[in-house]
Amino acid sequence: MQVLLYTLCFGLGAVGVASLGLLGWVLWPGRARAARERIEQSRGRCLVIGLLHLLALLFLLAVTDRRGGGAGLLVAAFLVWMAWKLLTALPGVLSWLGESLGSLADRPELDTARATIWGAFLLAGVGLVPWLGWALLTACLAATCGCGALGGRRAT
C-alpha cells in the first residue's frame, strides 16, 4: 500500500512538474533561456537569493494575523510574486538538471524538452527521500526562485 502511495506521489509529481516546465518553455521561452543561462553561470548566487526570500516569507508568515487584512494582502502579494518567479524560472532549471543528469548517464545530447522531463523526474525522485531529499528539494526550489528573482542584464 505504501509503495503504491509513493509511486503515485512520484508519478503525479513528475508529470505535474514536467508539464509546468514544458508549458513554461512554450509560454515564456525568453525567460526560460535566461533562467537556464543564470543557473548555469551562478548556482550559488541563485541559491543565496532564493533562501533569503524563503526565510523572509517564513518570517512574514509568522507575523501575519490569521485574518487577512492589509498585512495579509502584502504577504499574499509577496507569495504570488515568489510563485511567479518560481514558475518562470522552473523550465530553465529543469532543463539544466535534466542535462546534468543526462551527462552523468552518458546521454549528453538531450534536447530541451527531454531534458526538462528528465529534470522533473529527478526532482520528483529526490522529493521521495525523507529529510535529505526534502532538504535538497527545498534548496532546489529556493535556487529556482532565486534564479527567477535574480535580475539584471545577465548573470555574471
Binding site: S42, R45, V48, I49, L52, H53, L55, A56, L58, F59, L60, L61, A62, V63, T64, D65, R66, R67, G68, G69, G70, G72, L73, L74, V75, A76, A149, L150, G151, G152, R153, R154, A155, T156
Partner: protein, 162 residues
C-alpha cells in the same frame, strides 16, 4: 573579333555606368554584335557593372574619421547606458512597490462603501500562520526586513545594476 578585345572595350567604357544595357549602348557596333552572341562576355559585362556600382557606393560613404582611435577609447571609458537604464528600472520598481503599498494602506481608512466592502471581502480569507517558538512578532518583522533588504542588495550587486 576576340573576347579579349571586347573586354578591353568594356573596361574602357565602364566608368559611370549603372546598368549593363547602358554599358552595351556605349560600345561600338562590332562589340555590341559580339556581346549578343557571346554569353561569357555578357556575363563579364554584368560583373563589371556590378563591381562599378559597388565601388561607387563605397566611395559615396562618409570617410573614416581621422581620430577613430581616440573616439573608440572615449566610448570605452563612458559608463554603459544599459547599466544606467537598469539602475533606473530598479528604482522605478522600488518606487512603484512603495506607492502601491501606501495606496493600499491608505485605502483602509477611506469611508467609501464599495471599497470597505472589498476590504471586508479580502479580510475574510486567512493565511497560514507559522508558530516559530521563541520568536516575538517584532523580531520576526525585523528578520523579514533584513532578509528582504539583503536579498535586494545582493540582487542589485550581482545583477550588474550598479
Amino acid at each position: 573579333m576576340s573576347c579579349e578585345s571586347v573586354r578591353e572595350c568594356l573596361q574602357e567604357n565602364l566608368e559611370g555606368t549603372r546598368h549593363p544595357l547602358e554599358l552595351a549602348a556605349r560600345l561600338p557596333d562590332w562589340a555590341q554584335r559580339h556581346l549578343e552572341g557571346c554569353p561569357a562576355c555578357r556575363e563579364a559585362s554584368w560583373q563589371l557593372v556590378s563591381l562599378e556600382c559597388s565601388l561607387r557606393r563605397l566611395n559615396e560613404m562618409s570617410p573614416m574619421p581621422v581620430d577613430l582611435t581616440a573616439g573608440v577609447m572615449a566610448a570605452l571609458q563612458r559608463p554603459e547606458p544599459v547599466v544606467a537604464a537598469s539602475r533606473e528600472r530598479f528604482w522605478m520598481r522600488a518606487a512603484a512597490v512603495l506607492l502601491v503599498s501606501l495606496c493600499l494602506y491608505a485605502s483602509t481608512y477611506v469611508s467609501f462603501p464599495p471599497l470597505q466592502a472589498g476590504w471586508q471581502l479580502v479580510s475574510g480569507w486567512s493565511l497560514p500562520r507559522l508558530e516559530l517558538p521563541g520568536l516575538s512578532e517584532s523580531l520576526a518583522l525585523v528578520g523579514a526586513a533584513v532578509c528582504l533588504v539583503g536579498a535586494a542588495a545582493l540582487n542589485w550587486r550581482w545583477s550588474g545594476a550598479h
